[in-house]
Amino acid sequence: MKPDDPHIKWIAEPQLGLTGKMYLPLLAQGLTTTFKHIMRSLHGEAVTVSYPEEEPQFANPQIYRGVHRLNKDAAGRVKCVACFLCATACPAHCIDIIAEESPWPDREKYPQSFAIDELRCIYCGMCEEACPVDAIELTSLYNLTGRSREEMIFDKEKLLSIYDMTKDKEPMQSPAMGGTAT
């Protein structure tokens, strides 16, 4: 590009005054900025969370994408209708559903087995988006650990128990589907 190109927009640099050329305000600014931060940290306002002594605080646990849960309806039955939409939407292919004819009159199918490989899961939340009955949801449980690969494949009972564990803290999201979130 040539200097006389009409497309170049020339911007004049701000000129430093005498004190600026003596570097005094600049040096003082640098020192005061860091000093303020040091003082703030020494007063215990550092942003670090001392996990495991402290638990991290989520601004909104409803939108955090942690471990999955399978929601239950008012009668305590699993809400899932075994439609396979979540398994289809899952980009990591970590959801494995075996469907069976439903014993209840209000739906045709229900999951005889519902397993999620938490190690394969990428926690993208597509299953939650895809579910037509809001049966699968991601909770704000972040500290997921295990000692073996087998242990990390969560079956239906485990996923339902996560619902029992988290339902008070994180109500179901959609009121239209029987959720109580406000």
């Binding site: 050329k21 020192l31 931060h37 040091i38 703030r40 942003v47």
Partner: protein, 415 residues
């Protein structure tokens, strides 16, 4: 003989521990500056006692010892091993003449008697003290350049080149900063310089220009930010010690911290009055002092040093790094002339003192305070005037960006 060995043991042990704990302090300072907490977990092993992370340096040292010490196949093996030893030996040997306190009075433990007061310097009475420190700090350059060369790697080599150029460039302003102090104190012995400051006032106030020049040069010599070009991580991986690992690396890192501690010792001893603090530390000329004064002097000196080191660490996160051409411009176009101005001003002032008062400023009779005030005033005026002149000429700005007012031909001819 025994006395010297005890002092060497104390000093080396103290310095190594200090270097380790200053690493921890540096990490904590870094964390606080960035709104973090920093390493606070390692305490007593196998218990839950954390002690604010005071076990961290031990764990770090153990880690370095247990790590594989890998020697790349392409290095010049003899120089590769020699380089860290040179830099550590030079860094430690500097402390032979640096006082770490004033005196301790005579004492006896059972049969064992010490008749004369002990000077807290490994080699007291070395009258070339400052020259010795300077000679050894030049030898440190060998450690750097040998390490960079022997590693036989581009990053190490560039780091070594940068570092040696920087260290050599900043030795000149450092020397000019010291010359003013030597003129005023009339001696190169560091103990005498401290006593002279106790009588004449701290040289940081008497010779502000020399103080600024010396502090800037000391930062550069210790290769601390904003002058840490030898090992700027963002550009050079690790600088001249890129190819080192294990014990050899930790020797380099300790030597770097020792350089910083040496720089703070020199700043405190030459310009901030050493162990002297008005009222607290007693008669500076007395040849024997009590235990209380002796301990107070040690505490004052160490306190000042810790304060200067805290300033080093504070500056590290406050100011951005220089570009290499700016670094060289600062050394040759700003610091060197400022140092010369400082030297000439002080030489004229002290000669005027000598002529009009009829004795030297170091004369044991005492200091003519009226004339001393005049010297202080003149050197402050010279300091401010010199800084303004430098600011107006602004030699740090090298602008090679394209400009609108250049015609095409001149741009082409520049290429």
């Amino acid at each position: 003989m025994l006395e010297a060995l005890v002092k060497i043991g104390l000093l080396v042990g103290g310095l190594m521990t200090a270097a380790a704990y200053f690493v921890l302090l540096e990490r904590r300072m870094a964390a606080w500056t960035q709104d973090r907490i920093g390493p606070n977990r390692v305490g007593i092993p196998l218990t839950n006692i954390k002690l604010w992370g005071l076990g961290q340096p031990l764990a770090d040292g153990l880690k370095f010892i247990l790590k594989e010490e890998y020697t790349p196949a392409h290095v010049d093996r003899r120089l590769y091993v020699l380089a860290p030893l040179v830099i550590l030996a030079a860094a430690l040997a500097t402390y032979a003449v640096i006082p770490f306190g004033s005196l301790i009075p005579s004492f006896s433990i059972g049969q064992f008697k010490v008749e004369k007061p002990i000077q807290l310097t490994v080699a007291p009475g070395v009258d070339v003290g400052m020259v010795y420190v300077f000679a050894l700090s030049s030898i440190a350059v060998y450690g750097v350049i040998l390490g960079g060369w022997a590693s036989n790697s581009k990053y190490s080599f560039l780091g070594g080149l940068r570092s040696s150029a920087q260290l050599i460039a900043y030795e000149l302003p450092m020397g000019l900063g010291i010359l003013g102090v030597v003129l005023a104190a009339g001696s190169l012995n560091l103990n005498t310089i401290i006593t002279a400051q106790a009588q004449q006032g701290w040289y940081a106030f008497v010779q502000p220009l020399g103080f600024v020049v010396f502090v800037v040069a000391a930062f550069a010599e210790a290769a601390r930010l904003p002058f840490d070009l030898p090992e700027c991580e963002q550009e050079l991986i690790g600088g001249y010690h890129t190819e080192y690992s294990g014990m050899k690396l930790i020797i380099y890192l300790i030597a770097e911290f020792l350089h910083m501690i040496t720089a703070s010792f020199l700043i405190v001893i030459l310009f901030l009055g050493g162990w002297h603090l008005p009222v607290l530390t007693g008669d500076p000329t007395a040849t024997s002092i009590g235990w209380v004064t002796a301990i107070l002097r040690i505490l004052v000196l160490q306190g000042k040093i810790v304060a200067v080191i805290l300033f080093f660490m504070w500056v590290r996160w406050s100011w951005p790094r220089f570009r290499f051409d700016q670094l060289m411009n600062l050394a040759w176009k700003i610091m060197l002339p400022l140092g010369l101005v400082n030297l000439v001003t002080l030489a004229v002032l002290y000669e005027a003192y000598h002529v009009y008062v009829g004795r030297d400023v170091t004369d044991p009779v005492g200091v003519n305070s009226g004339w001393l005030l005049l010297i202080v005033a003149c050197s402050w005026i010279a300091f401010i005037a010199a800084w303004i002149v430098v600011a107006l000429f602004n030699p740090l700005v090298t602008d090679n960006r394209p400009r609108r007012d250049l015609s095409l031909t001149t741009v082409d001819s520049q290429i």
